[in-house]
């Protein structure tokens, strides 16, 4: 195998695939990236056996072929090469070596045989639909903050994606860690009505989000009950799904909440952030005292003292006092794009709904803390 490619193109592709490679690997081949040159294209493939990313980019192929080389080392070298450099990759010399040369630099890298590289088979994936990359970014961004890290409830360690066919058909993404829940939906894409509900693991979400950062096109999603595949431009990501049952989250979304508080999103987030400075590190509890037209945020800790800040709000129901974890409030405020955040409350002990006043697709549920 022998090819020449521009440094920027190689770096971009390597950057996309290398982060799936674990820093510590017990299986040597999993530390490597599969480099393949064929038909004027360079293809890079990395996997951790749960996720596989393939990215293709045009290159000047001198001699077709393939080899595997250490992913992180290769990435670090290319990163440090000067802007605009041409990179030659040459594995034709034999002796299990890949020679990378660029300008006056020359690196000889250890390789492993291509045959040892595990290819992740997609298997039979009966469902396919197309999704706008922007819509996919929204689904991820609005929910990923609520993904649980609790290992015992592994089925919460991802985003639950499913189709809603009753009422207004929608494709829905849900994540929860038990304390907060994010539910975001978009119009149901054609072909998605019959998909099974699947849980996309956190790492896959992170890798996918990085891959689609710069694309504006269409992402083709293909899935079965155990695997999911995202394809766009010249990249393909295949991932295993979490084998578990996502909780029946609809039952925890309150339906009877009737006290609506509307607040300017930016000033609310800033005030929460300021007041929370006082709250104890561990709990970060902030109290919301809501009266007609006014919200008083307060926090106190035995070591630090107290903090109070008042905000004008739109509210005309009975006064209510309710406590929340400041971090959760800030996380949710971050998701709201319009200027107004809406809190829909019942009482100080029940789940509270938070919405973006101008985005009917997103809904957040937040458990209060006793303060």
């Amino acid at each position: 195998m022998k090819l020449t490619i521009e440094r920027a193109a190689l770096l971009r592709a390597l950057n996309h695939v290398q982060s799936v490679v674990e820093r510590r690997n017990t299986i040597p081949i999993l530390a490597n990236v599969l480099v393949e040159a064929r038909d004027g294209m360079l293809s890079l493939n990395a996997t951790d056996m749960d996720i596989s990313i393939v990215e293709r980019t045009p290159a000047e192929v001198g001699q077709p072929g393939s080899i595997t080389a250490p992913a992180h080392t290769l990435y670090d070298i290319v990163r440090k090469l000067p802007d605009g450099a041409q990179v030659d990759l040459d594995a034709t010399g034999g002796g299990d070596r890949l020679i990378l040369s660029s300008g006056r630099s020359r690196f000889t890298l250890q390789t492993l045989p291509t045959e040892d590289f595990p290819v992740m088979a997609g298997g039979d994936m009966p469902h396919t639909f197309d999704l706008d990359a922007g819509a996919l970014r929204t689904l991820i961004d609005r929910t990923r903050f609520a993904i649980s890290t609790e290992e015992t409830r592994y089925y919460l360690n991802g985003i639950y994606v499913h189709a809603v066919t009753e009422g207004t058909p929608a494709l829905r993404a849900v994540a929860t860690d038990g304390h907060r829940l994010a539910r975001v939906e978009i119009e149901l894409p054609e072909g998605a009505a019959g998909i099974p509900g699947v849980i996309v693991p956190r790492k896959t979400v992170a890798e996918l989000r990085k891959l689609i950062e710069e694309t504006d096109g269409t992402v083709t999603v293909t899935l079965s009950e155990t695997k999911i595949r995202f394809a766009f431009d010249e990249a393909v990501l295949i991932s295993k799904l979490i084998d578990g049952t996502f909780p029946d989250y609809e039952r925890v979304i309150p339906t009877g909440n009737d006290k609506v508080l509307s607040v300017d999103r930016v000033s609310f987030a800033q005030a929460v952030d300021r007041v929370a400075t006082i709250a104890t590190e561990k709990l970060r509890a902030v109290k919301l005292s809501i009266d007609a037209g006014q919200l008083t945020l307060s926090a106190s800790s035995q070591e630090n003292g107290t903090a109070v800040e008042e905000l004008p709000v739109s509210y005309d129901r009975d006064s209510i006092e309710i406590g929340f974890n400041a971090r959760y409030l800030l996380d949710i405020a971050d998701q709201i794009e319009s200027s107004q955040a809406e809190f829909i409350l019942a009482d100080s002990a029940s789940p509270t709904i938070v919405r973006d006043a101008e985005d009917p697709g997103a809904l957040y549920v937040l458990m209060p803390m006793r303060v």
Binding site: S148, E150, T152, R153, L156, T176, D177, G178, H179, R180, L181, P247, D248, Y249, R251, V252, L283, S350, P351, V365, M367, P368, M369, R370
Partner: protein, 425 residues
Amino acid sequence: MTDTVQLCRDCLHIERMDANALGPRRCPSCHGSRLIRHPELMDLSIAHIDCDAFYASVEKRDDPSLADKPVIVGGGQRGVVSAACYVARIYGVRSAMPMFKALKACPDAVVIRPNMEKYSAVGRQIRALMLDATPLVEPLSIDEAFLDLSGTTRLHGRPPAATLAHLVKRIETEIGVSASIGLSYNKSLAKIASDLDKPRGFAVLGRADALSFLEEQPVGIIWGVGKSLRAKLEQDGLRTIRDLKKIDKFDLIARYGAMGKRLYHFARGEDDRGVQPDGETKSISAETTFNADLSDIQSLKEELWPLCEKVARRMKRQGFAGRSVHLKLKTADFKTVTRSRTLPDPTQFAEVLYRTAAPILEKTVEGRAFRLIGVGVADLTDPVLADPIDLADPDSGKRAKVERAIDAVRAKLGDGALKKGRGWH
């Protein structure tokens, strides 16, 4: 001349003397005869104090007509002897003996139902006196504690041994019950010593004599070796501590698990655990030893549930919530297996303990037979944070309501008033 030190337990007079001195064993100061002699008496500072026949002594204190009668405190729920006075012990009555057996041995005994509230009140008074001697008091139960008197000589103007004698005198005169002292250089030896000279005893195990003393003792003297472990050790040919010392450390650990390590060190008089003063409660747990070993998961789960209820009850009463759940199992061959799991939120609920511990139990059993199961919580916090509604578990709210309702009924009608279906078998 061999030096030794003599302490008078009545007047606290201290005298250095020749260990081989002849002559009357009387205190040169008060002519009392309750003397303690030991070469290391001035150097030892770890003590175990144990009240003598505590419950029975309290009852005798409160009813002088019982003074010379055999008194058994017991009955209650399980029908066993909780405490027998020293008169009753002459007839062979021992604590933990079934009541019918005790009464057969001593038909004239006065049987008194235990009054735990009274005993713990007296126990608290005794603890207060102990804390006058040293802040390092580690209570083992309501009537016994370890004391570390290191560095108290200048404070009290007398060495630890004399401070202890003084303390026990105060317990006798101010509270009206007697206690025995064990003095040594670590906790397990102090605990052994307090048992050597009961009642009203004062026994000393020094660095020079502890090991030779231990050699001859049966393995049962080691703290933590109960009846069945002793039987097993004897079955393995380990009757005395000398037998035990012949076995390699790793063999002992391989055979008896964590207890094996303890056996190895205790046999050599080694114990590096410090005296832990009675600080905050760090964990709450409950365990039970089965009548016959259990290997079947269903039976083990049936034993687990009441323990979860017990731990939850104690958390609720003491105002704690626990964030980590610990499961303890002891195999038929005395290996202790422990597993723990941290919860996303602290809990006070028996139901949460059970739902956390039961799956761990299922994974841990592996076809083995067990003689004991225990469950506990640690990482205790304020209950205000306990058991929030769990958005990832739609039924958690309903289960919380059920448990709170059960608690409310029990608060009104007693703990036995209501049982969950799981508790019937």
